[in-house]
Protein backbone atom coordinates (compact mmCIF):
# COMPACT_ATOMS: atom_id res chain seq x y z
CA UNK A 1 0.00 0.00 0.00
CA UNK A 2 1.36 3.38 -1.05
CA UNK A 3 1.76 5.78 1.84
CA UNK A 4 0.19 9.21 1.27
CA UNK A 5 1.83 12.29 2.71
CA UNK A 6 -0.22 14.88 4.59
CA UNK A 7 -0.20 17.21 1.59
CA UNK A 8 -1.30 14.43 -0.72
CA UNK A 9 -4.26 13.63 1.48
CA UNK A 10 -5.33 17.25 1.42
CA UNK A 11 -4.85 17.52 -2.34
CA UNK A 12 -7.04 14.56 -3.27
CA UNK A 13 -10.50 16.10 -2.80
CA UNK A 14 -9.48 19.14 -4.86
CA UNK A 15 -7.78 17.15 -7.53
CA UNK A 16 -9.86 14.05 -8.02
CA UNK A 17 -13.04 15.40 -9.68
CA UNK A 18 -11.02 17.33 -12.26
CA UNK A 19 -8.72 14.40 -12.93
CA UNK A 20 -11.63 12.00 -13.45
CA UNK A 21 -13.24 14.35 -15.96
CA UNK A 22 -9.90 14.83 -17.72
CA UNK A 23 -9.42 11.09 -17.88
CA UNK A 24 -12.85 10.57 -19.45
CA UNK A 25 -12.80 13.53 -21.83
CA UNK A 26 -9.15 13.71 -22.89
CA UNK A 27 -7.13 10.63 -21.96
CA UNK A 28 -9.73 8.04 -22.94
CA UNK A 29 -10.46 9.65 -26.37
CA UNK A 30 -6.72 9.73 -27.13
CA UNK A 31 -6.44 6.07 -26.15
CA UNK A 32 -9.52 5.34 -28.28
CA UNK A 33 -8.15 6.96 -31.42
CA UNK A 34 -4.78 5.23 -31.05
CA UNK A 35 -6.64 1.91 -30.81
CA UNK A 36 -8.74 2.70 -33.86
CA UNK A 37 -5.69 3.57 -35.92
CA UNK A 38 -4.41 0.03 -35.31
CA UNK A 39 -7.73 -1.68 -35.90
CA UNK A 40 -9.60 -2.74 -39.03
CA UNK A 41 -13.09 -2.37 -37.66
CA UNK A 42 -14.67 1.03 -38.08
CA UNK A 43 -16.22 0.94 -34.64
CA UNK A 44 -13.06 0.22 -32.69
CA UNK A 45 -12.36 -2.78 -30.54
CA UNK A 46 -12.38 -4.91 -33.70
CA UNK A 47 -9.57 -6.92 -35.17
CA UNK A 48 -6.01 -5.80 -34.66
CA UNK A 49 -4.66 -4.69 -38.01
CA UNK A 50 -1.08 -3.84 -37.06
CA UNK A 51 0.27 -0.94 -39.05
CA UNK A 52 -2.02 -1.66 -42.03
CA UNK A 53 -3.81 1.70 -41.76
CA UNK A 54 -0.54 3.59 -41.62
CA UNK A 55 0.79 1.71 -44.64
CA UNK A 56 -2.29 2.56 -46.66
CA UNK A 57 -2.12 6.17 -45.45
CA UNK A 58 1.47 6.49 -46.65
CA UNK A 59 0.49 4.99 -50.01
CA UNK A 60 -2.50 7.31 -50.32
CA UNK A 61 -1.57 10.09 -52.79
CA UNK A 62 -3.58 12.56 -50.68
CA UNK A 63 -1.23 12.18 -47.73
CA UNK A 64 1.95 13.67 -49.26
CA UNK A 65 -0.24 16.38 -50.79
CA UNK A 66 -1.66 17.23 -47.37
CA UNK A 67 1.82 17.29 -45.87
CA UNK A 68 2.98 19.66 -48.59
CA UNK A 69 -0.01 21.98 -48.07
CA UNK A 70 0.48 21.89 -44.30
CA UNK A 71 4.14 22.80 -44.72
CA UNK A 72 3.47 25.81 -46.95
CA UNK A 73 0.51 26.93 -44.88
CA UNK A 74 2.43 26.70 -41.61
CA UNK A 75 5.61 28.23 -42.98
CA UNK A 76 3.72 31.11 -44.59
CA UNK A 77 1.60 31.97 -41.56
CA UNK A 78 4.46 31.71 -39.05
CA UNK A 79 7.00 33.75 -40.99
CA UNK A 80 4.59 36.49 -42.03
CA UNK A 81 2.80 36.73 -38.66
CA UNK A 82 6.09 36.97 -36.80
CA UNK A 83 7.63 39.48 -39.19
CA UNK A 84 4.60 41.77 -39.35
CA UNK A 85 3.73 41.43 -35.66
CA UNK A 86 7.29 42.22 -34.57
CA UNK A 87 7.56 45.16 -36.95
CA UNK A 88 4.32 46.60 -35.54
CA UNK A 89 5.51 46.13 -31.96
CA UNK A 90 8.83 47.85 -32.69
CA UNK A 91 7.22 50.74 -34.52
CA UNK A 92 4.58 51.44 -31.88
CA UNK A 93 7.21 51.14 -29.17
CA UNK A 94 9.28 54.02 -30.65
CA UNK A 95 9.64 56.82 -28.13
CA UNK A 96 8.19 59.58 -30.28
CA UNK A 97 5.03 57.71 -31.31
CA UNK A 98 1.85 59.04 -29.71
CA UNK A 99 -1.38 57.16 -28.87
CA UNK A 100 0.39 53.83 -28.37
CA UNK A 101 -2.64 52.28 -26.63
CA UNK A 102 -4.93 53.36 -29.46
CA UNK A 103 -2.81 51.76 -32.18
CA UNK A 104 -2.38 48.52 -30.25
CA UNK A 105 -6.07 48.33 -29.36
CA UNK A 106 -7.23 48.93 -32.91
CA UNK A 107 -4.87 46.36 -34.39
CA UNK A 108 -5.69 43.81 -31.72
CA UNK A 109 -9.36 43.85 -32.79
CA UNK A 110 -8.42 41.51 -35.64
CA UNK A 111 -7.40 38.86 -33.12
CA UNK A 112 -10.60 38.87 -31.10
CA UNK A 113 -13.05 38.56 -34.02
CA UNK A 114 -14.69 35.10 -33.71
CA UNK A 115 -13.07 32.63 -36.13
CA UNK A 116 -16.25 31.87 -38.04
CA UNK A 117 -17.09 35.54 -38.56
CA UNK A 118 -13.55 36.13 -39.77
CA UNK A 119 -13.68 33.22 -42.22
CA UNK A 120 -17.16 34.03 -43.54
CA UNK A 121 -16.45 37.73 -44.03
CA UNK A 122 -13.16 37.17 -45.82
CA UNK A 123 -14.84 34.52 -47.97
CA UNK A 124 -17.32 37.18 -49.03
CA UNK A 125 -14.59 39.76 -49.65
CA UNK A 126 -12.52 37.27 -51.68
CA UNK A 127 -15.42 36.39 -54.02
CA UNK A 128 -14.26 36.44 -57.62
CA UNK A 129 -17.30 38.37 -58.87
CA UNK A 130 -18.69 41.07 -56.62
CA UNK A 131 -15.94 40.66 -54.03
CA UNK A 132 -14.61 43.92 -52.67
CA UNK A 133 -10.94 42.86 -52.87
CA UNK A 134 -10.96 42.31 -56.62
CA UNK A 135 -12.81 45.58 -57.05
CA UNK A 136 -10.35 47.56 -54.95
CA UNK A 137 -7.30 46.01 -56.60
CA UNK A 138 -8.80 46.82 -60.00
CA UNK A 139 -9.55 50.41 -59.16
CA UNK A 140 -6.01 50.81 -57.82
CA UNK A 141 -4.78 49.43 -61.13
CA UNK A 142 -2.94 46.51 -59.52
CA UNK A 143 -4.82 43.88 -61.53
CA UNK A 144 -6.74 44.09 -64.78
CA UNK A 145 -8.82 40.91 -64.50
CA UNK A 146 -10.70 39.47 -61.51
CA UNK A 147 -8.55 36.98 -59.58
CA UNK A 148 -10.24 33.69 -58.59
CA UNK A 149 -8.86 33.93 -55.04
CA UNK A 150 -10.61 30.95 -53.47
CA UNK A 151 -11.25 28.82 -56.53
CA UNK A 152 -7.81 28.30 -58.08
CA UNK A 153 -4.85 26.35 -56.78
CA UNK A 154 -2.64 29.31 -57.56
CA UNK A 155 -4.31 31.64 -55.05
CA UNK A 156 -6.44 29.61 -52.61
CA UNK A 157 -3.64 28.76 -50.17
CA UNK A 158 -2.31 32.31 -50.35
CA UNK A 159 -5.78 33.67 -49.53
CA UNK A 160 -6.23 31.58 -46.40
CA UNK A 161 -2.66 32.41 -45.33
CA UNK A 162 -3.46 36.12 -45.66
CA UNK A 163 -6.47 35.76 -43.36
CA UNK A 164 -4.55 33.72 -40.78
CA UNK A 165 -1.73 36.29 -40.76
CA UNK A 166 -4.32 39.05 -40.47
CA UNK A 167 -5.47 37.56 -37.18
CA UNK A 168 -2.19 36.15 -35.78
CA UNK A 169 0.12 39.12 -36.41
CA UNK A 170 -1.78 41.22 -33.80
CA UNK A 171 -1.17 38.46 -31.25
CA UNK A 172 2.55 38.51 -32.01
CA UNK A 173 2.49 42.31 -31.77
CA UNK A 174 0.97 42.16 -28.29
CA UNK A 175 3.37 39.52 -26.97
CA UNK A 176 6.41 41.29 -28.41
CA UNK A 177 5.21 44.58 -26.92
CA UNK A 178 5.09 42.92 -23.51
CA UNK A 179 8.67 41.76 -24.12
CA UNK A 180 9.86 45.17 -25.30
CA UNK A 181 8.48 46.90 -22.24
CA UNK A 182 10.65 44.76 -19.98
CA UNK A 183 13.90 45.66 -21.71
CA UNK A 184 16.26 47.71 -19.52
CA UNK A 185 16.42 51.34 -20.72
CA UNK A 186 19.94 51.96 -19.42
CA UNK A 187 21.33 49.42 -21.87
CA UNK A 188 20.08 51.58 -24.74
CA UNK A 189 21.32 54.78 -23.13
CA UNK A 190 24.85 53.49 -22.80
CA UNK A 191 24.72 52.10 -26.34
CA UNK A 192 23.67 55.54 -27.58
CA UNK A 193 26.56 57.14 -25.71
CA UNK A 194 28.84 54.75 -27.55
CA UNK A 195 27.31 55.98 -30.80
CA UNK A 196 25.42 52.84 -31.74
CA UNK A 197 23.08 53.16 -34.75
CA UNK A 198 19.46 52.02 -34.57
CA UNK A 199 20.11 48.74 -36.35
CA UNK A 200 23.09 47.98 -34.15
CA UNK A 201 20.86 48.44 -31.12
CA UNK A 202 18.19 46.28 -32.73
CA UNK A 203 20.62 43.54 -33.68
CA UNK A 204 22.77 43.47 -30.55
CA UNK A 205 20.34 44.44 -27.78
CA UNK A 206 16.68 44.09 -28.75
CA UNK A 207 16.64 40.80 -30.63
CA UNK A 208 18.96 38.85 -28.31
CA UNK A 209 16.89 39.94 -25.30
CA UNK A 210 13.62 39.08 -27.04
CA UNK A 211 14.83 35.62 -28.01
CA UNK A 212 12.72 33.71 -25.48
CA UNK A 213 9.46 35.53 -26.09
CA UNK A 214 9.98 35.30 -29.86
CA UNK A 215 10.44 31.58 -29.55
CA UNK A 216 7.23 31.22 -27.56
CA UNK A 217 5.28 33.37 -30.05
CA UNK A 218 6.54 31.41 -33.02
CA UNK A 219 5.72 28.06 -31.42
CA UNK A 220 2.24 29.28 -30.55
CA UNK A 221 1.44 30.53 -34.05
CA UNK A 222 2.93 27.33 -35.44
CA UNK A 223 0.75 25.04 -33.32
CA UNK A 224 -2.32 27.12 -34.16
CA UNK A 225 -1.52 26.81 -37.86
CA UNK A 226 -1.16 23.02 -37.73
CA UNK A 227 -4.39 22.71 -35.75
CA UNK A 228 -6.45 25.28 -37.66
CA UNK A 229 -9.63 23.83 -39.07
CA UNK A 230 -12.57 26.27 -39.28
CA UNK A 231 -10.84 28.91 -41.40
CA UNK A 232 -9.92 26.54 -44.22
CA UNK A 233 -13.11 24.51 -43.87
CA UNK A 234 -15.27 27.61 -44.31
CA UNK A 235 -13.23 29.46 -46.92
CA UNK A 236 -12.24 26.71 -49.34
CA UNK A 237 -13.58 23.40 -47.95
CA UNK A 238 -10.03 22.18 -48.46
CA UNK A 239 -10.29 22.59 -52.23
CA UNK A 240 -7.54 23.80 -54.56
CA UNK A 241 -4.56 22.44 -52.65
CA UNK A 242 -5.64 23.80 -49.27
CA UNK A 243 -6.23 20.38 -47.68
CA UNK A 244 -3.91 20.51 -44.70
CA UNK A 245 -3.47 17.55 -42.39
CA UNK A 246 -6.34 18.76 -40.17
CA UNK A 247 -8.65 18.98 -43.19
CA UNK A 248 -7.53 15.53 -44.37
CA UNK A 249 -8.47 14.02 -41.01
CA UNK A 250 -11.90 15.61 -41.24
CA UNK A 251 -12.49 14.57 -44.85
CA UNK A 252 -11.59 10.94 -44.15
CA UNK A 253 -13.77 10.99 -41.05
CA UNK A 254 -16.65 12.47 -43.02
CA UNK A 255 -16.67 9.62 -45.56
CA UNK A 256 -16.52 7.26 -42.56
CA UNK A 257 -13.09 5.96 -43.39
CA UNK A 258 -12.51 5.87 -39.65
CA UNK A 259 -9.35 3.79 -39.49
CA UNK A 260 -7.57 5.86 -42.11
CA UNK A 261 -8.82 9.06 -40.46
CA UNK A 262 -7.46 7.81 -37.12
CA UNK A 263 -4.06 7.11 -38.64
CA UNK A 264 -4.01 10.61 -40.17
CA UNK A 265 -5.13 12.04 -36.84
CA UNK A 266 -2.25 10.31 -35.07
CA UNK A 267 0.17 11.82 -37.58
CA UNK A 268 -1.29 15.28 -36.91
CA UNK A 269 -1.12 14.65 -33.18
CA UNK A 270 2.54 13.60 -33.36
CA UNK A 271 3.53 16.67 -35.36
CA UNK A 272 1.63 19.05 -33.07
CA UNK A 273 2.99 17.43 -29.94
CA UNK A 274 6.61 17.83 -31.04
CA UNK A 275 6.15 21.61 -31.08
CA UNK A 276 3.83 21.64 -28.07
CA UNK A 277 6.53 19.71 -26.21
CA UNK A 278 9.15 22.33 -27.06
CA UNK A 279 6.70 25.02 -25.95
CA UNK A 280 6.13 23.31 -22.62
CA UNK A 281 9.89 23.07 -22.07
CA UNK A 282 10.21 26.82 -22.60
CA UNK A 283 7.38 27.51 -20.17
CA UNK A 284 8.87 25.19 -17.56
CA UNK A 285 12.20 26.98 -17.86
CA UNK A 286 10.47 30.32 -17.22
CA UNK A 287 8.39 28.83 -14.41
CA UNK A 288 11.48 27.63 -12.58
CA UNK A 289 13.32 30.91 -13.04
CA UNK A 290 10.55 32.76 -11.22
Amino acid sequence: MMKLTKDEKRAIPFLLPGLIVTAILIVYPLFYIVTMSFSDNSFGGGGFAGIKNYVSLFHNPQFPKAIRSTLWWTFGTVVLSYAIGTLLALLINRKSIKLKGFWRGMIFIAWIIPGVVKATTWKWMFQTDGGIINYMLQSLGVISKNIPWLTSSKFALLSVIIVQVWSCAPYVMLMMTAGLQQLPADLYESAELDGATWYEKLLHITFPLLKDISFICILMVLVWAINEFSLIFIMTQGGHDTTTLAMLVYNQFKVLNINLASASAIMQLLITMIFAGIYVRCVVKEDEEE
Binding site: D7, G18, L88, V117, T121, W122, M220, A246
Partner: protein
Amino acid sequence: MKRNTKTIILDILTYIFLATVVVLVLMPLLWIISTSLKPAIEIFQKPPHWIPHNPTVSNYVGVITASEIPRAFLNSFLVGALATFLALALGGSAGYAFARFKFRGNKFLSLFMLISQMLPLTVLMIPMYYMENKMSLVDTRFGLALAHLVICMPLVTWMSRGYFKGIPKEIEESAMVDGATQMQIIGRIILPLIKPSIAATGIYAFVSSWNEFALANVLTRSIQSRTVPIALNEFSTFFKVDWGQTMAAAAIITVPIIVVFLLIQKQFVAGLSAGAVKG
Protein backbone atom coordinates in the same frame (compact mmCIF):
# COMPACT_ATOMS: atom_id res chain seq x y z
CA MET B 1 18.61 69.80 -35.96
CA LYS B 2 19.32 67.24 -38.68
CA ARG B 3 18.49 64.46 -36.28
CA ASN B 4 15.19 66.11 -35.54
CA THR B 5 14.10 66.27 -39.18
CA LYS B 6 14.99 62.62 -39.58
CA THR B 7 12.89 61.70 -36.56
CA ILE B 8 9.94 63.67 -37.88
CA ILE B 9 10.09 61.99 -41.28
CA LEU B 10 10.38 58.59 -39.62
CA ASP B 11 7.43 59.43 -37.40
CA ILE B 12 5.29 60.43 -40.35
CA LEU B 13 6.17 57.22 -42.20
CA THR B 14 5.38 55.20 -39.09
CA TYR B 15 2.00 56.89 -38.69
CA ILE B 16 1.16 56.28 -42.36
CA PHE B 17 2.10 52.62 -42.00
CA LEU B 18 0.13 52.19 -38.76
CA ALA B 19 -2.90 53.93 -40.25
CA THR B 20 -2.77 51.58 -43.25
CA VAL B 21 -2.62 48.57 -40.95
CA VAL B 22 -5.58 49.84 -38.92
CA VAL B 23 -7.55 50.33 -42.14
CA LEU B 24 -6.74 46.75 -43.17
CA VAL B 25 -7.80 45.50 -39.73
CA LEU B 26 -11.07 47.40 -39.76
CA MET B 27 -11.91 46.77 -43.41
CA PRO B 28 -13.69 43.42 -42.88
CA LEU B 29 -15.69 44.91 -40.00
CA LEU B 30 -16.76 47.91 -42.07
CA TRP B 31 -17.64 45.58 -44.94
CA ILE B 32 -19.79 43.49 -42.58
CA ILE B 33 -21.71 46.61 -41.53
CA SER B 34 -21.91 47.97 -45.06
CA THR B 35 -23.23 44.73 -46.58
CA SER B 36 -25.64 44.10 -43.74
CA LEU B 37 -27.30 47.49 -44.30
CA LYS B 38 -27.76 47.08 -48.05
CA PRO B 39 -30.97 45.96 -49.73
CA ALA B 40 -30.58 42.78 -51.81
CA ILE B 41 -30.27 44.54 -55.17
CA GLU B 42 -27.42 46.72 -53.98
CA ILE B 43 -25.24 43.90 -52.70
CA PHE B 44 -24.02 42.69 -56.09
CA GLN B 45 -24.30 46.09 -57.76
CA LYS B 46 -21.27 47.13 -59.79
CA PRO B 47 -19.16 48.85 -58.85
CA PRO B 48 -19.43 47.77 -55.20
CA HIS B 49 -19.73 50.71 -52.82
CA TRP B 50 -19.05 51.18 -49.12
CA ILE B 51 -21.92 53.47 -48.17
CA PRO B 52 -25.33 51.90 -48.89
CA HIS B 53 -27.43 54.13 -51.19
CA ASN B 54 -30.70 53.03 -49.59
CA PRO B 55 -29.74 51.73 -46.14
CA THR B 56 -32.16 49.24 -44.63
CA VAL B 57 -32.38 47.15 -41.49
CA SER B 58 -34.39 44.45 -43.24
CA ASN B 59 -31.44 42.01 -43.12
CA TYR B 60 -31.30 42.36 -39.34
CA VAL B 61 -35.05 41.97 -39.08
CA GLY B 62 -34.84 38.84 -41.22
CA VAL B 63 -32.07 37.35 -39.08
CA ILE B 64 -33.83 38.09 -35.81
CA THR B 65 -37.35 37.05 -36.80
CA ALA B 66 -36.93 34.36 -39.44
CA SER B 67 -33.62 32.56 -38.91
CA GLU B 68 -31.95 30.09 -36.60
CA ILE B 69 -29.73 32.75 -35.08
CA PRO B 70 -31.84 33.66 -32.00
CA ARG B 71 -32.19 30.00 -31.05
CA ALA B 72 -28.49 29.45 -31.77
CA PHE B 73 -27.73 32.37 -29.46
CA LEU B 74 -29.63 30.64 -26.68
CA ASN B 75 -27.86 27.34 -27.40
CA SER B 76 -24.44 29.01 -27.43
CA PHE B 77 -25.19 30.80 -24.20
CA LEU B 78 -26.34 27.66 -22.37
CA VAL B 79 -23.48 25.52 -23.71
CA GLY B 80 -20.92 28.19 -22.83
CA ALA B 81 -22.39 28.79 -19.37
CA LEU B 82 -22.45 25.09 -18.46
CA ALA B 83 -18.95 24.44 -19.82
CA THR B 84 -17.60 27.50 -18.00
CA PHE B 85 -19.30 26.60 -14.73
CA LEU B 86 -17.99 23.03 -14.77
CA ALA B 87 -14.53 24.16 -15.84
CA LEU B 88 -14.34 26.75 -13.04
CA ALA B 89 -15.53 24.28 -10.41
CA LEU B 90 -13.39 21.32 -11.49
CA GLY B 91 -10.44 23.12 -13.07
CA GLY B 92 -10.34 25.84 -10.45
CA SER B 93 -10.04 23.42 -7.56
CA ALA B 94 -7.50 21.32 -9.45
CA GLY B 95 -5.53 24.50 -10.12
CA TYR B 96 -5.60 25.24 -6.39
CA ALA B 97 -4.25 21.77 -5.60
CA PHE B 98 -1.47 22.17 -8.18
CA ALA B 99 -0.46 25.52 -6.72
CA ARG B 100 -0.67 24.67 -3.00
CA PHE B 101 0.11 21.04 -2.34
CA LYS B 102 3.22 18.95 -2.82
CA PHE B 103 2.27 15.60 -4.26
CA ARG B 104 3.75 13.00 -6.54
CA GLY B 105 2.90 13.72 -10.17
CA ASN B 106 2.16 17.40 -9.56
CA LYS B 107 4.56 18.59 -12.23
CA PHE B 108 3.55 15.90 -14.72
CA LEU B 109 -0.17 16.49 -14.31
CA SER B 110 -0.01 20.27 -14.46
CA LEU B 111 2.14 20.11 -17.60
CA PHE B 112 -0.39 17.68 -19.03
CA MET B 113 -3.01 20.40 -18.52
CA LEU B 114 -0.81 22.92 -20.31
CA ILE B 115 -0.12 20.65 -23.28
CA SER B 116 -3.78 19.61 -23.48
CA GLN B 117 -4.60 23.14 -24.58
CA MET B 118 -2.71 22.42 -27.76
CA LEU B 119 -4.37 19.13 -28.66
CA PRO B 120 -5.79 19.31 -32.20
CA LEU B 121 -9.58 19.32 -32.07
CA THR B 122 -9.71 17.36 -35.34
CA VAL B 123 -8.00 14.52 -33.43
CA LEU B 124 -10.40 14.60 -30.47
CA MET B 125 -13.42 15.04 -32.73
CA ILE B 126 -13.46 11.42 -33.92
CA PRO B 127 -13.46 9.57 -30.57
CA MET B 128 -15.66 12.28 -29.08
CA TYR B 129 -18.25 11.66 -31.75
CA TYR B 130 -18.30 7.90 -31.16
CA MET B 131 -18.42 8.25 -27.38
CA GLU B 132 -21.28 10.73 -27.47
CA ASN B 133 -23.09 8.75 -30.14
CA LYS B 134 -23.04 5.70 -27.90
CA MET B 135 -24.54 7.71 -25.04
CA SER B 136 -27.07 9.50 -27.30
CA LEU B 137 -25.44 12.82 -26.50
CA VAL B 138 -24.91 13.89 -30.10
CA ASP B 139 -27.06 16.87 -31.01
CA THR B 140 -27.70 17.83 -27.39
CA ARG B 141 -26.51 20.99 -25.68
CA PHE B 142 -25.30 18.96 -22.70
CA GLY B 143 -23.16 16.80 -25.01
CA LEU B 144 -21.59 19.83 -26.64
CA ALA B 145 -20.92 21.47 -23.26
CA LEU B 146 -19.09 18.29 -22.18
CA ALA B 147 -17.06 18.38 -25.39
CA HIS B 148 -16.18 22.01 -24.77
CA LEU B 149 -14.81 21.04 -21.38
CA VAL B 150 -11.93 19.57 -23.36
CA ILE B 151 -10.99 23.15 -24.17
CA CYS B 152 -12.16 24.94 -21.03
CA MET B 153 -10.87 22.57 -18.33
CA PRO B 154 -7.15 22.66 -19.18
CA LEU B 155 -7.36 26.40 -19.77
CA VAL B 156 -8.98 27.16 -16.42
CA THR B 157 -6.77 24.71 -14.54
CA TRP B 158 -3.55 26.15 -15.90
CA MET B 159 -4.55 29.79 -15.54
CA SER B 160 -5.94 29.44 -12.02
CA ARG B 161 -2.85 27.52 -10.95
CA GLY B 162 -0.88 30.63 -11.85
CA TYR B 163 -3.22 32.92 -9.92
CA PHE B 164 -3.23 30.73 -6.79
CA LYS B 165 0.56 30.57 -6.92
CA GLY B 166 0.62 34.35 -6.79
CA ILE B 167 -0.94 34.38 -3.30
CA PRO B 168 1.67 34.01 -0.56
CA LYS B 169 1.33 30.78 1.36
CA GLU B 170 1.88 32.66 4.65
CA ILE B 171 -1.61 34.18 4.45
CA GLU B 172 -3.14 30.72 4.58
CA GLU B 173 -0.78 29.48 7.26
CA SER B 174 -1.54 32.33 9.64
CA ALA B 175 -5.29 31.81 9.15
CA MET B 176 -4.72 28.13 9.86
CA VAL B 177 -3.00 29.04 13.13
CA ASP B 178 -6.06 31.14 14.04
CA GLY B 179 -8.12 27.99 13.68
CA ALA B 180 -9.77 28.53 10.29
CA THR B 181 -10.66 25.43 8.29
CA GLN B 182 -9.47 24.84 4.74
CA MET B 183 -12.88 25.73 3.31
CA GLN B 184 -13.10 28.93 5.35
CA ILE B 185 -9.66 29.97 4.13
CA ILE B 186 -10.60 29.42 0.51
CA GLY B 187 -14.07 30.96 0.75
CA ARG B 188 -13.24 33.97 2.91
CA ILE B 189 -9.64 34.78 2.01
CA ILE B 190 -8.40 33.23 -1.22
CA LEU B 191 -11.41 33.60 -3.51
CA PRO B 192 -12.10 37.26 -2.64
CA LEU B 193 -8.43 38.00 -3.35
CA ILE B 194 -8.46 36.56 -6.85
CA LYS B 195 -12.06 37.30 -7.80
CA PRO B 196 -11.12 39.51 -10.78
CA SER B 197 -8.73 36.88 -12.12
CA ILE B 198 -11.32 34.14 -11.73
CA ALA B 199 -13.86 36.28 -13.55
CA ALA B 200 -11.43 36.89 -16.40
CA THR B 201 -10.62 33.17 -16.60
CA GLY B 202 -14.32 32.36 -16.71
CA ILE B 203 -14.95 34.85 -19.48
CA TYR B 204 -11.96 33.46 -21.34
CA ALA B 205 -13.42 29.96 -21.10
CA PHE B 206 -16.85 31.20 -22.12
CA VAL B 207 -15.51 32.98 -25.19
CA SER B 208 -13.55 29.86 -26.20
CA SER B 209 -16.78 27.87 -26.09
CA TRP B 210 -18.74 30.62 -27.84
CA ASN B 211 -16.27 30.67 -30.76
CA GLU B 212 -15.65 26.92 -31.02
CA PHE B 213 -16.40 25.46 -34.44
CA ALA B 214 -14.70 22.11 -35.14
CA LEU B 215 -16.35 20.06 -32.39
CA ALA B 216 -19.75 21.75 -32.69
CA ASN B 217 -19.64 21.05 -36.42
CA VAL B 218 -19.71 17.27 -35.90
CA LEU B 219 -21.60 17.10 -32.59
CA THR B 220 -24.64 19.15 -33.60
CA ARG B 221 -27.12 18.30 -36.31
CA SER B 222 -30.20 20.42 -35.82
CA ILE B 223 -31.40 23.60 -34.24
CA GLN B 224 -31.80 21.52 -31.06
CA SER B 225 -28.17 22.18 -30.23
CA ARG B 226 -26.60 24.20 -33.06
CA THR B 227 -24.46 27.05 -31.74
CA VAL B 228 -23.90 30.45 -33.26
CA PRO B 229 -20.77 29.63 -35.29
CA ILE B 230 -22.50 26.67 -36.92
CA ALA B 231 -25.67 28.66 -37.62
CA LEU B 232 -23.63 31.43 -39.22
CA ASN B 233 -21.77 28.98 -41.41
CA GLU B 234 -25.10 27.49 -42.54
CA PHE B 235 -25.98 30.91 -43.94
CA SER B 236 -23.06 30.99 -46.31
CA THR B 237 -23.16 27.38 -47.50
CA PHE B 238 -26.46 27.65 -49.36
CA PHE B 239 -26.10 27.42 -53.10
CA LYS B 240 -27.11 31.03 -53.45
CA VAL B 241 -25.70 32.91 -50.49
CA ASP B 242 -27.75 35.79 -49.06
CA TRP B 243 -24.74 37.89 -48.11
CA GLY B 244 -26.90 40.66 -46.66
CA GLN B 245 -28.41 38.39 -44.01
CA THR B 246 -25.13 36.52 -43.53
CA MET B 247 -23.33 39.75 -42.70
CA ALA B 248 -26.17 40.92 -40.46
CA ALA B 249 -25.83 37.65 -38.54
CA ALA B 250 -22.04 38.11 -38.41
CA ALA B 251 -22.50 41.59 -36.94
CA ILE B 252 -24.92 40.32 -34.29
CA ILE B 253 -22.45 37.59 -33.26
CA THR B 254 -19.41 39.85 -33.16
CA VAL B 255 -20.91 42.64 -31.05
CA PRO B 256 -21.07 40.71 -27.73
CA ILE B 257 -17.50 39.53 -28.19
CA ILE B 258 -16.20 43.03 -28.79
CA VAL B 259 -18.18 44.36 -25.80
CA VAL B 260 -16.77 41.62 -23.57
CA PHE B 261 -13.29 42.37 -24.83
CA LEU B 262 -13.60 46.08 -24.13
CA LEU B 263 -14.87 45.32 -20.62
CA ILE B 264 -12.00 43.06 -19.63
CA GLN B 265 -9.28 44.21 -22.01
CA LYS B 266 -6.65 44.38 -19.25
CA GLN B 267 -7.30 40.94 -17.78
CA PHE B 268 -7.70 39.47 -21.24
CA VAL B 269 -4.27 40.62 -22.28
CA ALA B 270 -2.82 39.55 -18.94
CA GLY B 271 -4.40 36.12 -19.49
CA LEU B 272 -2.60 35.85 -22.80
CA SER B 273 0.77 36.20 -21.17
CA ALA B 274 -0.35 33.99 -18.25
CA GLY B 275 -0.38 31.09 -20.66
CA ALA B 276 -3.88 30.91 -22.05
CA VAL B 277 -2.94 29.31 -25.29
CA LYS B 278 -6.19 28.56 -27.06
CA GLY B 279 -6.68 30.88 -29.98
